[in-house]
Amino acid sequence: QETFTWRVQSHWPGASSSYTDSLVRLQRVLDERTDGRLKLKLYEAGALFKAQDTFNAVSRGILEMGTISPSYAQDKISLAGIASGLPFAFRNVWEAEYFHQGMGFEQMLRDEAAEHDVYWATDKVYPTEMVVKKPIKNWEDFTSLKIRSSGVLQKFLTEAGAAASYIPGSELYSALDSGIVDGAHWGAAQGAASMALYEVAKYHVQPALNIAGTDVIIVSMKALNKLPEDMQEIVKDALDEQFWVRTNEYLYKERITLAKVIAEQGVQVNVLPDEVQDKLVKAAQAMWDEEGERSENAKKALDMLKGYLAELGYL
């Protein structure tokens, strides 16, 4: 019996909970279900490739598997912007789950990725939430904030009226500590805790800036097609299952992390006042249409999203 070893480049550092919970889990599941015929060799973020190059490496078949954030594949996948999360679209994680799996957004992503010889499987959907040094009590408070942000959210926060700037992760702690910025987002509670941000910023802001499939597992089609058919099915089924298992587990861990930092580090949840939320939603909706202009496919996905949100009574 032939055994296969796949090199897997993660976009998570080894200490990140997702590295263990997502990748090591997948490694174990695939090993068990293929009776040891498929081994994953895991590499931490940046060990082999720059995180932003992982999609290309998998697409060329140099790597068999990898994990990315959709934003790393923006130039190839026109839906990546929507997959990374439009600000203030979903209000609950289950809504994003249903959008991906029930309404076919995941399949649309998979079809686009297939054109680059990549099999796309969202690892999980989860919220992105901010931490700030001073609570936001009104619109004034929000617009006077200096926030560390990145990508589409940086643009959103800037257009909404805050001063968002990009600071690399390695300098984020110092920047928050010394007050160069007053707030930042790095995932939600688990991400912020892993970066030690609660040491220097005690307010956890809710609701989420967005809820989206921000972690993705990608597989080289070349590598996948080399497997015997039964193993191909095992891989695909394991990835489908991974989405549900991980999304649920992640939410659970979010809650216990938040409870822990509230109890141990004196963190407080800062729920944005309605006035602020309304203004942010308006600013967000003005931005959505830009994402729809990226391609025919993006427009289709955006229309689908708007119809869905209308159905939910949010628009």
Partner: protein
């Protein structure tokens, strides 16, 4: 082929081509490409290009050209020279006074930068000529700069500590706090060494003859020379601590400070700035091409299965918890001879940290040992990056052999420091306990 044999071949060929005189950057890059070809195939060269692209995008490295430029301006405009003249007038009577003064400047520099490299190049430019001019032994002067220049990663801010915290999940603030007393310990040990050595062998770090020590009015006038450097330090440190800039942006404040100093000296001329810019370009480029290749090298080694090697080794360590910790230090010491700190972290920490924690050791304390070990690695032959950075600035008559041999006592001092911190962990753990 097993990873043990691959490792021997990989590092063996590195050593071989380095001894043949090919520049370090090309040896690291070339050996990586050859081994990648045989272990992974032609397509894997994409990894080399990707690592270079990744290094180009590392924002914290932007501080290198700026701090080097700052040093070049301070040197060319005479600010640095006057500073050393002042130190000589005041401490010239003390044997080793200039070396100690240099170490103090290094410590201040270390508080301004979060990386190694910039400080070594800067101090090699500013301090080395001043010490050599005044009859200091070449090896003493080189060793002092090599060791002091490496303190940037132990005294906060430190990018290396942030990365360690990120990979192991300990608190960044605790790491920063934990680094302060070991930093002081290293300073005390190094200064003591210089005092003892220059008392025993006065020719190594001669005192100024009494007739040249200057009168009090002269001394007081010379004190003006400190004002500008202190101003520059104030601008950089003040803007970091005051929350005005990130450590990287603070480098720009340093440049601004050096330009103001140049203006005060009436030396703010295009010819001087242009020359400083070109020297900065050469030195930064040299550092960057070494880093490009070093990152590719680490990635190649990891792709060959470096972590399996470490895991395998850890299963054969006798000697109880302390034996394991010491074995880890030895492994890191040897890896640090040839790999960059980030690569070492990625290879060793995922294996080491669970063991360290399960043995009941404090991961913050271990982090300090780790960082000091990295500092040692920066200056251990044959592949200490500080050694190469220093070689890039010294006059041509100083050979690699001079630089290699200069570090020996300073490496021993740092190993002693690691030993002391192992015996008295409180040196590292006390301050974080107070703050957090």
């Amino acid at each position: 082929m097993s990873i043990e044999i691959l490792t021997l071949l990989f590092f063996g060929s590195l050593l071989f081509f380095l001894l043949l005189g090919l520049p370090l950057a090309f040896v690291l890059g070339g050996v990586s490409v050859i081994f990648l070809y045989f272990t992974w195939g032609f397509d894997s060269f994409y990894m080399v290009a990707s690592q270079i692209w990744g290094t180009m995008g590392s924002f914290t490295l932007v501080a290198i050209p700026l701090f080097v430029f700052m040093a070049m301006v301070l040197e060319r405009t005479g600010v640095a020279k006057d500073l050393y003249r002042m130190m000589h007038l005041w401490f010239g009577g003390l044997r080793g006074g200039l070396a100690i003064g240099t170490l103090v400047i290094c410590a201040v520099f270390a508080a301004m930068v979060g990386i190694s490299g910039a400080a070594v190049v800067a101090m090699g430019t500013i301090a080395l000529p001043s010490m050599l001019e005044r009859g200091y032994d070449r090896k003493m002067a080189l060793g002092v700069i090599n060791t002091g220049g490496g303190w940037g990663i132990l005294i906060p801010p430190s990018i290396l500590m942030i990365l360690y915290a990120l990979i192991t999940g300990v608190s960044v603030g605790q790491m920063f706090a934990a680094g302060i007393m070991p930093g002081v310990l290293l300073m005390v040990l190094t200064v003591t060494y210089i005092l003892v050595r220059s008392t025993l062998q006065p020719h190594l770090a001669p005192a100024l003859p009494p007739e040249e020590r200057g009168t009090w009015p002269e001394k007081l006038r010379a004190l003006r020379a400190v004002l500008l450097p202190i101003g520059v330090v104030f601008m950089v440190l003040g803007s970091i601590i005051g929350g005005i800039t990130t450590p990287t942006e603070a480098a720009a404040m340093g440049v601004l400070g050096s330009l103001i100093s140049a203006a005060v000296y009436r030396q703010l001329k295009w010819s001087i700035l242009q020359e400083a810019a070109i020297r900065t370009f050469k030195l930064t480029g040299m550092i960057m091409w070494i880093l490009f290749a070093a990152h590719a090298f680490s990635a190649a080694y990891q792709s060959m299965g470096a972590q399996d090697l470490i895991e395998g080794m850890m299963q054969h360590i006798p000697g109880g918890p302390w034996g394991i910790i010491i074995a880890m230090m030895v492994i890191i010491f040897f890896l640090a001879m040839v790999l960059d700190p980030v690569g070492i972290m990625l290879i060793t920490l995922p294996v080491f940290m669970p063991i360290v924690k399960s043995l009941g050791f404090d991961p913050v304390w271990f982090g300090i040992l780790f960082v000091i070990n990295m500092e040692i690695g920066y200056k251990t032959p044959p592949f200490g990056f500080n050694l190469f950075y220093l070689k890039g600035v010294v006059p041509p008559d100083i050979t690699m052999k001079d630089i290699y041999t200069s570090v020996v006592p300073f490496v021993i001092i740092e190993i002693v420091a690691i030993g002391i911190i192992m015996v008295f962990p409180e040196i590292a753990t006390w301050l974080p306990g107070v703050f957090f």
